[in-house]
């Protein structure tokens, strides 16, 4: 109990510090610290799948994304005085956040106890899906349409990022080039960590069918390892126009959609799997989906091509 209270206060303190930080860099470090502590809270709330996603995606990959954006913004001029938010705007934002937090704090204790839940139905029917992890069963079988929509949203976000590039940059390799020095510590780190990371990523993806894990968490680890390789100068970021890149990105949702539509023919409903082949179909969906998610996330963090000199 004291552990949980202490953890809560620690998280609140780090959050307050992150908001109060003056520099972008400091704020992003605070945000990553906050996210890693949140993962601890999720473990305490007995939600290890969410903890994995928070640690990998919510704080790790998003931290990389934010710091990349922050370093691009640093290069440009500091915004003119009219663009920094005034006191009125900051007060309005603070009031809105306080109202939302107060509303949540008021409502949550009033929720019915025990909370209405579909967990017993999930547990009762999970044998039909062939999976052992109820979270994966919900993601890939009961609510597979939500997962399909998630990956489409990710792809749309990537298209949005690409659409910000000027036309002249369309053929350049994505992301920024780091000076590659084969003897540097960074190259050493990358050469040691990346194989281990790929192994861990595949393990967490594979174990997701019977234990906490799954394709989003595994794909995030794979994406982080690719970005690490790109930062160390070990791989070249592809250009947007490369055909194989677009194929990798699209094949995940395409297979998902194809199997979903095949559900009409086989069982009469979209994304309904015939019971005898459910596990196999889920596996056939998950493997290209993991690759697609990894590629999308890696490209999102890499961002548009960075001009060498301005």
């Amino acid at each position: 109990m004291a552990f949980d209270i202490g953890l809560t206060f620690l998280v609140l303190g780090v959050a307050a510090w992150t908001i109060a930080a003056r520099e972008t860099f400091a704020a992003v470090v605070g945000f990553v610290a906050y996210g890693l502590l949140l993962a601890l809270i999720w473990v305490r709330l007995a939600a290890p799948d969410v903890a994995l996603t928070e640690a990998a995606l919510g704080s790790g990959l998003t931290g990389g994304l934010l710091i990349g954006a922050g370093s691009r913004l640093r290069v440009s001029q500091s915004p003119p005085a009219e663009e920094t938010p005034g006191v009125a705007l900051k007060t309005a934002a603070a009031v809105l956040c306080i109202l939302i937090s107060a509303g949540l704090a008021a409502i949550v204790p009033l929720l019915p106890d025990p909370a209405p839940t579909l967990a017993p139905q999930v547990a009762a029917n999970i044998a039909a899906t062939g999976l052992g992890n109820p979270v994966t069963a919900v993601l890939m079988a009961y609510r597979a349409i939500d997962t399909l929509l998630e990956i489409v949203v990710l792809l749309l976000a990537l298209v949005g990022v690409w659409s910000l590039m000027p036309d002249s940059d369309w053929g350049l390799p994505l992301g920024s080039r780091v000076a590659d020095d084969p003897d540097s510590v960074l190259t050493f780190i990358a050469q040691l960590l990346i194989p281990v990371g790929i192994l861990v990523g595949i393990h967490i993806f594979w174990v997701g069918s019977i234990a906490p894990g799954g394709e989003f968490q595994g794909a995030t680890i794979l994406a982080a390892m690719w970005i690490l390789a790109s930062m160390a100068g070990l791989v070249d970021a592809p250009a947007v126009t490369r055909r194989w890149l677009r194929l990798v990105l699209v094949i995940g949702p395409a297979v998902f959609l194809a199997i979903g539509l095949a559900g009409f023919a086989l069982t009469g409903a979209f994304l309904a799997y015939p019971e005898s082949h459910a596990k196999l179909l889920i596996l056939i969906i998950e493997i290209p989906l993991t690759l697609a998610i990894a590629a999308t996330l890696a490209l999102l963090v890499a961002g548009p091509p960075k001009r060498a000199q301005r």
Partner: protein, 97 residues
């Protein structure tokens, strides 16, 4: 037998906690970023190693024990190499002549 294992676990975890404490005291008291980095990397990783040692005695099967050791090795590898990177950032000119 299990009493011996429990005692060993408690001893190892306490030693690990002591090293975490030492690392944090170093973080709080050392004057220089490089010294603080030193305290963070060495003491905290040693503390983690001792904690893992203590948990090894409690492991349910050899596979779980192997996984604990794998986590420790990964943390050690990552910590040592990232510390080099951070040190280079803190003092790019290298060791003082």
């Amino acid at each position: 037998m299990s009493l011996v294992l429990n005692v060993l676990s408690v001893l190892a975890v306490c030693a690990g906690g002591f090293f975490f404490l030492a690392g944090t005291v170093g973080l709080l008291r050392f004057p220089d970023p490089l010294c603080r980095l030193h305290a963070l990397t060495k003491a905290d990783n040693l503390g983690l190693g001792l904690v893992v040692l203590g948990l090894l005695f409690q492991a349910a099967n050899p596979l779980a024990a192997l996984k604990l050791v794998a986590v420790w090795l990964l943390a050690l590898l990552a910590g040592a190499t990232v510390a080099q990177l951070i040190a280079h950032l803190a003092r790019p000119s290298g060791p003082r002549a």
